[in-house]
């Protein structure tokens, strides 16, 4: 394996281990924490529980929402969580690689809502692509496709 391949694989492994450990830690809702971003706008611009910013508004009937002022003039904390707890299979690593975890689309929507509120747009990747796939590149491509729905939110 070329050396460039090692780090993403190790990083993915580290995240998987970290997530597995957090499930063992007696968490009340394992794999189902609040997903949270802080938006650099005042609460009245971020919305209310009954009126969510796009594209989160499409999830309105399926999620619980918390909106609160962030400390220290940092804007507004926007937290969401699916009303229906996802299955263990969906939140497993294979489930996430197959894009079966409902939290993934929720993370994407949360990030996009923040960006739209702050900048008026969601920055899109460059197009058309210049890359061509080799085995290592396919791993990076998959990680990139899932990236918006993964992470520490």
């Amino acid at each position: 394996m070329k050396k460039i391949m090692w780090f993403p694989v190790l990083a993915a492994g580290a995240v998987a281990v970290r997530k597995a450990r957090s499930r063992k830690a007696g968490d009340g809702r394992p794999g189902d924490r609040w997903l949270t971003v802080t938006v650099n706008r005042p609460p009245e611009e971020v919305g209310s529980k009954g009126e969510l910013p796009p594209p989160l508004d499409a999830f309105a009937t399926r999620i619980d929402v918390e909106i609160r002022t962030a400390p220290g003039d940092r804007g507004t904390e926007l937290a969401v969580r699916a009303k229906k707890r996802p299955s263990a299979l969906a939140t497993s690593l294979p489930g996430r690689l197959a894009a079966q975890d409902p939290r993934q689309e929720l993370r994407v929507a949360l990030r996009e809502a923040k960006s739209l509120l702050e900048t008026g747009e969601v920055m899109r990747p460059d197009a058309p692509p210049t890359t061509h796939d080799r085995p290592g590149g396919k791993v990076i491509a998959l990680a990139s496709r899932r990236s918006g729905g993964e992470g520490v939110l």
Partner: protein, 389 residues
């Protein structure tokens, strides 16, 4: 159009790729006037920076001419000559609003990868790893500039392309080391590395009032260039004991501020270099922190060490004890260029900062792999190779 693409570890090729498109209203397209090699490119070329894909266009330090603007661009129009900051900032998240532009929340289109590596993602950067957005780089005929009103700056008429080029990245990176390192009048500052960023850090320290600035390297041409164009003292680390020399020159105290401008592929002349290189090749550490260790040990009690060099992950034998027991402040950052670029363009125009001397070689885009060969092996006194489409 032609572009310089990463094709694998130590493989670069000039290829035909599709021209970039406007993807957002706040984008613009820039026609390249000049770009440059950067030491941080060597890390990704050599496979030390993760998450590259074959065909990625590299390059992140450039000056160009605006050819097309999106509907949301207010500050630029076709025909404008602009220098573009290597890191992309949205200008409105909390980090950008607080002048921490390289930490932008909204410009890394692959946030999950960056969060897996670092806990939180960085902002996006041109022509770098997919962990930092995977955006196209600037060694091409055209490049898309997202959030153009916040990341592109008009070049004063009396500043030529090559002088402006380095204000895209090298100059603000160096300035940031002195600024966030807290350099103040009367300080003695030591700078590890006499490449472009190290030279600019030394110049920034002098302009911020440092009493003495001492630059450390091993390449004779770079040491001579630093003395001539920057005005700092120098130490050739192959000819003396750096820590002892610094103690002697600082009345036994050690430098007040130590700036590391070397990065993850540091060299040294001791057995430690072999140790670090073996551990890096075995993937027991991702980076060789030789200069960081030396800076931490050399720094005076209660002083500050600022890490400007690019590091990817974990290092071995990190002297945490010295930081705690000497009461040091350790800080690092990717560069918050938007914070400094307008001011730095004025200083270049006023002749307070010289940058043109950094361009020791000029190479056409067709021969860009040769530019990186020259630069990597420091052949023919190469400090920076300018690449012109």
């Amino acid at each position: 159009m032609k572009a310089l693409c990463w094709e694998g570890v130590n493989e670069l090729a000039v290829e035909q790729v599709p021209e970039p498109e406007l993807r957002n209203d706040q984008d613009m397209i820039v026609r390249l006037l000049a770009g440059t090699t950067c030491g941080s490119d060597l890390h990704l070329i050599g496979g030390y920076i993760p998450a590259m894909r074959a065909g990625d266009v590299i390059g992140h330090e450039f000056v160009g001419e605006v050819v097309e603007t999106g509907r949301g661009v207010r500050k630029h129009k076709p025909g404008d000559r602009v220098v573009v900051c290597s890191f992309i900032g949205c200008g409105r998240c909390w980090y950008c609003a607080n002048d921490l532009w390289s930490l932008c929340d909204n410009t890394n289109t692959n946030p999950g990868i960056g969060q897996a590596l670092f806990g939180y993602e960085t902002g996006g950067i041109f022509g770098y790893s997919h962990a930092m957005g995977g955006l196209r780089g600037s060694h091409a005929e055209y490049v898309r500039v997202p959030f153009a009103d916040h990341g592109a700056f008009p070049v004063p008429e009396d500043v030529d392309d090559v002088s402006a080029l380095f204000v895209s990245d090298s100059v603000p990176t160096g300035w940031m080391g002195a600024d966030l390192g807290g350099v103040k009048p009367g300080d003695v500052v030591a700078v590890w590395g006499c490449g472009a960023v190290g030279q600019m850090a030394a110049r920034a320290a002098l302009l911020k009032g440092a009493e003495r600035v001492i630059s450390i390297d091993r390449i004779p041409e770079r040491l001579a260039m630093t003395e001539r164009y920057i005005g700092s003292e120098t130490i050739d680390y192959t000819r003396t004991d750096v820590a002892a020399e610094l103690r002697e020159r600082t009345g036994g105290r050690g430098p007040d501020v130590c700036i590391e401008a070397v990065g993850q592929e540091a060299h040294s002349d001791g057995i430690g270099h072999l140790y670090d290189k073996v551990k890096q090749q075995l993937r027991l550490q991702t980076d060789r922190p030789t200069a960081v260790r030396q800076a931490i040990h050399a720094c005076r009690k209660g002083g500050t060490v600022f890490v400007l060099g690019v590091f990817a992950g974990a290092v071995d034998k990190f002297p945490l004890g010295a930081i705690v027991n000497k009461g040091l402040t350790l800080r690092g950052a990717q560069m918050h260029g938007q914070r400094y670029i307008p001011m730095l363009l004025e200083k270049v125009a006023a002749g307070e900062i010289s940058t043109a001397h950094l361009a020791t070689h000029t190479v056409p885009l067709d021969e860009a792999p040769r530019a990186y060969d020259l630069f990597k092996h420091k052949e023919d006194g190469c400090v920076r190779a300018v690449i012109r489409p």
